[in-house]
């Protein structure tokens, strides 16, 4: 394996070589949790897969909140590219609105760059309010906004007063941080600061209330998860933020437990809600059959209610019954195959579990923008040094809300449970990987191509920019961001859909036609037509 890395790295100029070496490692039992370099600036010109802070904030975390008008303050591209391209599904609730079929922009022109865009932004908010009367409005800064000095926070404050609805400003200029990750953080801060717990009337405290954190309902994932949770008896309050609404964010403080699916994008809110309201959080994984079962059992332990625990086991049994035949059918077809995964900040880990259910071995995995804790586990957080590119992302300090803080699980029981359940903890990806597997941070095009040549995986899960590169190299590539327009992939039924989609990719007859017959057989059978020339 060491040789493989040498071959991959050899083409790099000295400085790039030195940099990239720290982002790639081989899992070995001698050193079960090695240090990886992550969340640092991208090497220019290397052809990264990464996006920007705006994408992380507007595109990922806030965009799915369906009843808000999200106004991109910038030239048209940023709004255009986040228009219905991420499959965070939503449907309007009774009497509610759903803006996800729309994209809103101030469509900045040259004169807005020269004279500032504040007036246009104010007018755009007015028009949005006049036209739609939304629950709330979000304003999202793009690259030039920070440079020309438009004060979007002042505009938001003023508009909040004028229209009597919450107008939120997000300083998520594309150049902030080093990836989408900074945008998550900025989104988290503002949601917690300005939205969560804002609702004036205290909400009725229902039994078994939970919040889904970091679940964006791609291809209906959150709906599939909620279907099972509701069947067991849970009451989903806050959705952060797939199929989410503004009210649900506001009222999320009443829940008894926060479930963190995507650690990277939402761990900030989970931590801050625990400090402010006393709501414990637990790392969950609804991707994969075994992971889903483990998650459901952990949740039952948190609530420690005999009825809920019984119902959990009943539902697990029913759900397994419904899919096990299909899963074992596909497992027979797929087991023993090898996979590489390169996805944003969480799926590269979660999906290893689902692949394991199908007998598929992960030989390489990496994140675009995970931090060291997503690779190595939260225990390394105190040792992470913030560099200059990340230091300017504001850290929010929250305090206990004396009025709303509750002790939900008594401290003694919490400590005992902590032994069994990932309370406030995420172990990261590396610990779950096999010896000899390769871990790569911020994988780029060159490395993708080389690793495929050298490792010859049977399948490579990645995104749209890689998909056709990988397919042209003769390897199946299923997208784990958009699910290739399929889904859901979460939960029990999702596992079956995933298995079916994967088998379709691996066994499509078209692979057999790649080499034309005249390249397979000798063509020396003499001339068919003689003497006609």
């Amino acid at each position: 394996m060491k040789k493989v890395l040498d071959q991959v790295l050899e083409v790099y100029p000295a400085k790039t070589f030195k940099n990239r070496k720290k982002h790639i490692l081989i899992k070995s039992n001698d050193e079960p949790n090695p240090v990886i370099q992550a969340n640092v600036r991208t090497v220019p010109g290397i052809m990264t897969n990464r996006g920007c802070c705006y994408a992380g904030c507007k595109g990922v975390v806030l965009g799915p909140v369906k009843d808000m008008v999200h106004i991109t303050h910038g030239p048209i591209g940023c709004a255009y590219y986040t228009w219905a391209t991420r499959r965070n599904k939503a449907k309007a609730e009774d009497g509610g609105q759903n803006f996800l079929e729309y994209t809103f922009s101030t469509d900045m022109q040259e004169k807005d760059i020269v004279f500032g865009g504040v007036e246009k932004l104010k007018q755009a908010i007015k028009e949005a309010v006049d036209l739609f009367h939304p629950k709330a409005v979000g304003i999202y800064a793009t690259c030039p906004v920070g440079l020309i000095g438009d004060d979007i926070n002042a505009v938001a404050q003023e508009a909040t007063k004028e229209y009597g609805i919450q107008v939120l400003a997000f300083n998520c200029e594309g150049y902030k941080g080093v990836s989408q990750s900074a945008g998550h953080h900025i989104a988290n801060n503002n949601i917690l600061e300005s939205v969560v717990g804002r609702g004036k009337k205290p909400l009725e405290q229902k039994k078994f209330s939970i919040n889904m954190l970091g679940e964006y309902n791609i291809g209906g994932d959150a709906w599939e998860i909620e279907r099972v949770l509701e069947k067991i008896g849970y009451n989903v309050v806050g959705r952060f933020s797939g199929d989410g609404t503004y009210d649900r964010l506001e009222q999320s403080y009443v829940a008894d437990l926060n479930l963190v699916q995507c650690h990277r994008s939402i761990n900030y809110i989970a931590e801050m809600m625990e400090i402010r309201y006393g709501i414990p959080w637990v790392k969950v994984n609804f991707i994969g059959v075994e992971s889903t079962i483990e998650t459901l059992r952990n949740m039952a332990k948190c609530f420690n209610d005999p009825g809920l625990t019984r119902r959990t086991e009943e539902v697990i049994e029913e759900e397994l019954e419904a899919i096990s035949e299909e899963i074992s059918f596909y497992k027979d077809k797929l087991h023993g195959k090898t996979a590489c995964l390169f996805v944003g900040g969480s799926r590269a880990h979660h999906y290893q579990k689902l692949l394991e259910d199908l007998g598929i071995k992960t030989i390489l995995a990496g994140y675009e923008f995970g931090h060291r804790d997503d690779y190595e586990g939260r225990e390394v957080i105190p040792t992470i040094k913030l560099d200059a590119d990340t230091r300017n992302i504001p850290e929010l300090t929250v305090e206990k809300d004396e009025e709303r803080y509750r002790i939900i699980i008594p401290p003694e029981r919490y400590e005992t449970l902590k032994e069994e359940i990932p309370f406030e903890y995420y172990g990261g990806m590396i610990k779950d990987m096999d010896e000899g597997a390769i871990v790569v941070d911020d994988l780029n095009h060159h490395e993708t191509e080389q690793f495929i040549k050298l490792l010859k995986p049977d399948m490579f899960f990645s995104g749209i920019k890689d998909k056709y590169v990988i397919q042209k190299m003769g390897v199946v590539s299923k997208q784990l961001h958009s699910y290739d327009y399929s889904g859901p992939y979460a939960g029990f039924r999702g596992a079956a859909v995933f298995a079916r989609d994967l088998a379709a990719g691996v066994f499509t007859p078209a692979w057999g036609y790649v080499t034309p017959p005249w390249r397979k057989e000798p063509l020396l059978e003499g001339q068919i037509v003689g003497g006609e020339k």
């Binding site: 790039t16 220019p44 990264t48 590219y81 809103f104 922009s105 739609f132 191509e449 920019k465």
Partner: protein, 454 residues
């Protein structure tokens, strides 16, 4: 679907909703892909580059390669020179293109990065080339970006060496690879030697044959681009996407040019053929005349399904203009004609052709968007919508047949293999439109009215 769009019109001055355009750099990236062995490079923060690669990939279902300077906050304040130099070193060492075509974003344009100086002070290996175009996202649209990059090819590379090549230059406009193939096919039949620039055929519609190639077989060769300075004439198709480059080439290398509409539909294709045959002398080969005759035959055969039908057309100006004329030639009634790309010429040209055809009361708008067009349709419905994939929401909301034309088409496969230009492309468009209209009729008519033969 689109339930929140009110019927009542509301005049917006600032809020853009569901735009009928995107920003400059994606057009420049697409143009750069039309150069053989070229790496498009986005000088800005990396989000732009990822978005542009994504959207092109989604349209073509093919790999789209491009690199970025990956600005951080520091570079955004102090300038992106260091990022640029590092990028060039990495690109040539790792990916080894023959040429890097740099475009900018709203970030580097607002900062005021001086690309000419950066290029001059970068380490560029012997025999390799770096060109650039300024593509500020807050001016124009993706079509403007395309135009700027084509102009940059001329500015950096075209040369009049004094040795005439006897060729015509074809600046194809912002069209797909199948259209570029169609230009070439027509010129070959006409027996006219040509240089087409840019040419994305064989790049973004690459086959599944011998594996992935970072730089596929297609693309205009650098030598050919240089040689455009020695051609006898330039045909610039689409005034917004091609004319600037043609003007530059005339200024720089004294190659005269004609600006023509992109040859969509019978009138624009006739105009193209007439120019060609006048230039080359001789006759139009029967092969082409046969195609034209087939198109006219099809126009006559299908006229009852098109005559008087109301159509809404939305898209890029150089596509919408000739298409609107085509719709008129089919006896249709264009009600709404919209582009997101700013520019007065659009409205003037369309209104001119409407007036000539006696079509009255149509709404024509540049810098328009899907939201407003939808409001118009709510007030006075149409029989057919012609637009890119974003139009499908309106088509569903209003139960109106749709044909996909232009960029991007994100939700259908094989679109990129069929030309929409020339007589052949026009036949294909008639087929698509007629299918869409008849499919709806078949789906919705009473059972007793269901017909086998139509």
């Amino acid at each position: 679907m689109l339930d929140l769009t009110p019927k009542e019109s509301y005049e917006r001055k600032a809020l853009r909703i569901n735009p009928a355009k995107t920003c400059q750099p994606i057009g420049a990236m697409y143009a750069a892909l039309g150069i053989h062995n070229c790496m498009p490079h986005s000088h800005g923060s990396q989000g732009c580059c990822s978005y542009h690669r994504m959207q092109l990939t989604r349209h073509f279902k093919d790999p789209i390669m491009a690199t970025t300077s990956s600005f951080t906050e520091g570079a955004s304040v102090f300038g992106g020179g260091a990022n640029f130099k590092t990028a060039m070193k990495n690109i040539f060492s790792i990916y080894n293109p023959d040429i890097v075509a740099v475009h900018t974003t709203c970030l580097s344009e607002t900062v005021g990065d001086d690309l000419v100086t950066y290029i001059a002070s970068s380490e560029i290996p012997e025999g390799k080339i770096v060109i650039h175009a300024n593509t500020p996202s807050y001016v124009g649209s993706h079509i403007t970006g395309f135009s700027s990059m084509v102009k940059a090819m001329v500015a950096y590379l075209s040369k009049n060496t004094g040795v005439e090549n006897g060729k015509v230059n074809i600046l194809p406009g912002f069209v797909g690879p199948a259209d570029m193939r169609e230009y070439k096919r027509i010129l070959k039949i006409m027996g006219i030697p040509y240089i087409i620039m840019p040419d994305t055929s064989g790049v973004v519609d690459s086959p599944m044959t011998e594996g992935f190639k970072m730089f596929p077989k297609g693309g205009t060769k650098i030598e050919e681009i240089k040689d455009t300075g020695n051609s006898k004439r330039t045909f610039a198709f689409g005034s917004v996407s091609s004319q600037d480059a043609a003007i530059e080439l005339e200024k720089k290398c004294k190659v005269p040019f004609d600006t023509l509409p992109i040859p969509i539909g019978i009138d624009a294709t006739d105009e193209f053929l007439m120019k060609l045959v006048k230039l080359a002398g001789g006759e139009v080969p029967y092969e082409i005349e046969e195609e034209r005759g087939q198109l006219v035959d099809l126009m006559l055969d299908t006229h009852q399904y098109f005559h008087g039908k109301k159509v809404a057309i939305i898209g890029d100006p150089d596509t919408v203009i000739p298409f609107t004329q085509f719709a008129i030639s089919l006896g249709m009634n264009p009600r709404y004609v919209v582009t997101g790309t700013p520019g007065d010429k659009f409205e003037k040209t369309i209104n001119g052709m409407m007036e000539k055809a006696g079509v009255q009361g149509a709404k024509v708008k540049s810098s328009g968007d899907f939201f407003e067009m939808h409001q118009w349709i709510k007030n006075e419905p149409v029989d057919l919508i012609v637009g890119n994939s974003h139009a499908k929401y309106i088509a569903r909301a209003e139960n109106t047949p749709l044909i996909r034309l232009g960029f991007p088409v994100l939700d259908r496969y094989g679109y990129y293999y069929n030309p929409k230009i020339g007589y052949r492309g026009s036949m294909r468009l008639i087929e698509m439109m007629c299918d869409a209209i008849l499919d709806k009729m078949d789906r919705e008519c009473k059972e007793e009215d269901f017909e086998l033969v139509l």
